[in-house]
Symmetry: C2
Subunit: 233 residues, 2 copies
């Protein structure tokens, strides 16, 4: 596998959830992975894995970014998170019914490495630290979902959009200013509100000098105010 430096994650109330599985393999196991793995290039907008389809491989992102979408039965979608190197696209189908429980779409041109899920399972069974690391990773996922549940049920639009902006700036782009391929409607889906509401709330933040944006360029001007809005709901 490619290099795999764990990154620090500053998001409020959530601990670092980067998976470092592949760091824990011994030479033999690493060779098995390298013999088995293959790399696929996705263009921006292409679907990497589709919800409900069979989970046959665990993916490791080498380059680019992927949107993780929860699709509802009526066409609604929640944009759960954005993954990038060294994140793993696996999902809760592993070791259950081996189906994908989310759709992953390339946000930009993205390179991902496919590892057969049966090999991955063998690694879990044969390598205790690998298994323990996976358990820790799943638990951190659960913690993040608890936070997301609280956020969505207890916070109003301002708070939810503030959370999204903080997440993008802190975790995804790691910069107070960033140019993104996310559309307004992606930002709305991340914050669980309509398109129009997201646009209106963004404009409101801009009018109040909290952020600036033009097209796909965004800049966090008053991070502390944004954090405060997030806290107040």
């Amino acid at each position: 596998m490619e290099s795999n430096k764990p990154k620090t994650k500053n998001r409020e109330n959530s601990c670092d959830s980067k998976p470092v599985f592949f760091n824990l393999l011994n030479d033999e196991q690493l060779n098995a992975v390298n013999a088995n793995r293959f790399v696929v290039n996705f263009k921006a907008g292409e679907t990497i894995v589709k919800q409900s389809s069979a989970l046959t491989h665990i993916l490791y992102i080498i380059q680019g970014k992927a949107k993780i979408l929860l699709e509802g039965s009526e066409g609604q979608t929640i944009l759960l998170k954005i993954l990038k190197q060294p994140d793993v696209i696996g999902g809760p189908g592993f070791n259950t019914d081996y189906r994908h429980y989310f759709t992953a779409v390339a946000l930009e041109d993205t390179k991902a490495c496919f590892v057969d899920v049966n090999l991955f399972k063998r690694l879990v069974l044969s390598n205790q630290p690998f298994a323990m690391n996976l358990i820790a990773y799943l638990n951190r996922e659960i913690i993040n979902l608890y936070d997301k549940l609280k956020c969505l049920t207890h916070k109003h639009m301002n708070g939810r959009l503030a959370d999204t902006l903080i997440y993008l700036s802190n975790d995804v782009y790691q910069n107070p200013e960033f140019t993104t391929k996310l559309s307004r409607s992606d930002i709305a889906n991340m914050s669980c509100m309509t398109n129009e509401s997201a646009i209106r709330t963004l404009k409101d933040f801009k009018d109040n000098g909290i952020i600036d944006f033009k097209g796909d360029y965004f800049k966090i001007l008053k991070r502390d105010v944004l954090i405060n809005i997030s806290k107040k709901g």
Copy 2:
């Protein structure tokens, strides 16, 4: 450990998430658990574990029921689920920061068996099926949380309350009629709405002949209608 028959779970879009860890132990491991474990009796309303406190034991419910609550910073609570034998009260603090990420409160008089978390960790490390089972369990938890997220963000009050009633009848009491120690405000917290809204929506269902209730007694009259309300949102 006590007997541990897996139960079938009929809930929409969610697979059986009963943990069957302790079935997978060999004699030696079972002896270690039995030598280490101790049983505590909780009266209805007593706190079993408190959010943010140290996770020192994994609990196995022998008798009774426990409400699992996510507490927000501003006093808001989400009632996530209700656990009963043979459910395990562990939580995502295991193998991460060893803190509790929810509060568990005895809904009725409840008996739980405490297993030291270090012993539990040793079991995970020394017993592959046990570890794989834990991973499957965590993934099912994640699947349930995905469903919960979709439910809360895409469904209106009718749909959310219908989900709660179906859950209580199918999973918790396994009977179309039941007497519960859950208050109206518990039901509201399960459905993520205010007290008043829960009461109003319950009355609405009653007026339409979908359910009947009086005090703490509930009866599902038209399960199919309820399921339809849940689907429509």
